[in-house]
């Protein structure tokens, strides 16, 4: 086993374990903290793939900003077992169906991924994840989807302000 392989298995195990803990934890604050661990291990995978920029942006955006807001809301709501409303069986059934559908989609996606069987992952090589190459590609080849998604973000921001202003 090379150092990279050891790291890969460690990070994968960590990601899966903490992802499970997100679901299993009784306390929502613990779930959020485990989710942050998931983001960290995924960022570790990005670094193994030599995509340092994506790794660090993943941390800044998800672990640094979005999860802080999650934590914010959950801390203010003060959730605990007593106050959690008991949902009726219809809602539970709907939850099971929705989750099952997602599972089938993911399984079919896994099954159709035939082209990646027997091929090795390129570890610590390739330079598409480095900031210079990524920037060049984003602003040349993918400039239209890139700009469109920024317009989407802007509209979401304006929407949030409008909803916040409504008294």
């Amino acid at each position: 086993m090379t150092a990279t392989e050891i790291l890969f298995w460690f990070l994968s195990a960590l990601a899966l374990f903490s992802a499970l803990m997100v679901v299993i934890s009784k306390n929502p604050v613990h779930s959020v903290l485990w989710l942050i661990v998931v983001f960290f291990s995924i960022s570790g995978h990005y670094i193994l793939l030599n995509a340092q920029f994506i790794a660090i942006v993943n941390l800044i955006v998800y672990a640094g900003a979005i999860m802080v807001l999650f934590l914010f809301v959950i801390m203010l709501m003060n959730l605990n077992a007593n106050t959690e409303p008991q949902r009726n069986s219809l809602v539970r059934l709907a939850g099971v169906v929705a989750g099952g559908l997602l599972l089938t989609v993911m399984i079919s996606a896994l099954r159709s991924a035939n082209e990646i069987t027997n091929s090795k992952a390129t570890m610590s090589e390739g330079d598409i994840g480095l900031i210079q190459n990524l920037g060049k590609i984003l602003f040349t080849q993918y400039v239209v989807p890139f700009e469109l998604s920024s317009v989407l973000f802007l509209s979401a921001m304006v929407g949030a302000v409008v909803i916040g202003k409504k008294e």
């Binding site: 086993m1 090379t2 150092a3 306390n27 604050v29 903290l33 942050i36 340092q52 920029f53 660090i56 942006v57 941390l59 800044i60 672990a63 640094g64 900003a65 802080v68 807001l69 934590l71 914010f72 801390m75 203010l76 480095l130 900031i131």
Partner: protein, 350 residues
């Protein structure tokens, strides 16, 4: 196992020693920052300040640390015990992690090896700093929530919203700088400044915005809303005692040291010796690196003094004033700075 032998063990050893030295140095500097803070405060308030432990009270930080270690350690019954301990540990960890990408000086030649005085020269250095800074708030938030105290929770939420708000302006003011340097590696940024002028000449407004945001990110007065003792009893660390409290207070001083180092690196030439052409005196060898460190530490010292000077002269903002300043003044200013910088760069490269 055979692959493990192919690792460059000397490089590993070198890096481990460097990490140990940098961590120890930032802890010692943070220790003496507390002493400096008390002395400067005393000077500004026409007092003498600590003068009992050692000559001029020079052993005061040691006495303070010892006192904190021997205090009774209280974990409140109603608190979340694991998170209660995790909070201060995270605050300390994130404070120390930032040092990893700061270039402390040029290369040193020891025993025939060229040693870079930087733990990791990653090509996204400044983004790494940014990521660690944005993670730093978890220590405060987790600690404040786990204490199970309303004042602590309120202070933690204040701290978090303050850091998130000021991060934006900080990031935008950095974009203007990065458009000029064209690199995110701190080492490259310093080397560029060594060849031409310091970035402060090109980005005075950007530096001003960055400095104000750094004050806010370090939770220093006038932005220490999460420790406003006259509104919140004591702030997010109200339930903490002993060295866990010490960790929170200490993390603030480590943060101050590291953010001073980052500001000196980005805007004031890092380890560049002022009015001295390093490339013409390459024969000085290791002395050059030593002078570099001394200059860098002097610049950091000036910034730390500035932080303290502001703390003991400017009163604390009200919370709405803080948010107004962040969102309605600093962010538009930083955006304007970015647009003007972009336009000038475009015009010069026409």
């Amino acid at each position: 196992m055979i692959y493990l032998l192919t690792i460059d063990w000397l490089l590993l050893l070198e890096k481990l020693i460097l990490i140990a030295v940098v961590v120890m140095a930032s802890l010692v500097i943070a220790m003496y920052e507390t002493y400096a803070e008390r002395k400067i405060a005393a000077f500004m308030q026409d007092r003498i300040g600590p003068n009992r432990a050692g000559i001029f009270g020079i052993l005061q930080p040691l006495a303070d640390g010892m006192k904190l270690f021997f205090k009774e350690e209280i974990i409140p019954n109603s608190s979340n015990k694991i998170l209660f301990v995790l909070g201060p540990s995270l605050a300390m960890l994130t404070a120390m992690m930032t040092c990893a990408v700061v270039p402390w000086s040029g290369d040193v030649n020891l025993f025939g090896r060229t040693i870079s005085l930087q733990i990791a020269d990653v090509n996204i250095g400044i983004l790494y700093v940014f990521a660690v800074v944005s993670l730093g708030i978890y220590g405060v938030m987790i600690g404040g929530w786990a204490s199970n105290n309303k004042y602590s929770l309120l202070a933690a939420l204040r701290g978090a919203s303050q850091v998130i708000s000021y991060e934006l302006a900080m990031g935008i003011s950095l974009i203007a700088l990065l458009m000029m340097t064209g690199s995110l590696s701190l080492k490259t940024i310093v080397e560029q400044q060594m060849q031409s002028h310091w970035n402060i000449l090109y980005q005075p407004l950007g530096f001003l915005i960055f400095f104000v945001c750094a004050l806010a990110e370090c939770n220093r007065t006038p932005f220490d809303l999460s420790e406003a003792e006259n509104e919140l009893n004591m702030g997010y660390h109200q339930e903490y005692s002993s060295m866990k409290l010490g960790f929170y207070l200490f993390a603030e001083y480590v943060n101050m040291f590291v953010s001073s180092a980052i500001m000196a690196t980005l805007f004031f030439g890092g380890y560049d010796i002022p009015f001295f052409n390093e490339s013409a005196h390459a024969d000085l060898g290791n002395w050059l690196a030593l002078f570099g460190i001394i200059c860098f530490m002097l610049k950091i010292g000036i910034f730390i003094f500035l932080f303290m000077w502001i703390r003991w002269t400017v009163p604390r903002f009200r919370y709405d004033q803080l948010m107004n300043l962040g969102w309605k003044k600093l962010i538009p200013l930083a955006l304007a700075n970015m647009l003007v910088t972009g336009a000038v760069i475009l015009w010069l490269h026409k």
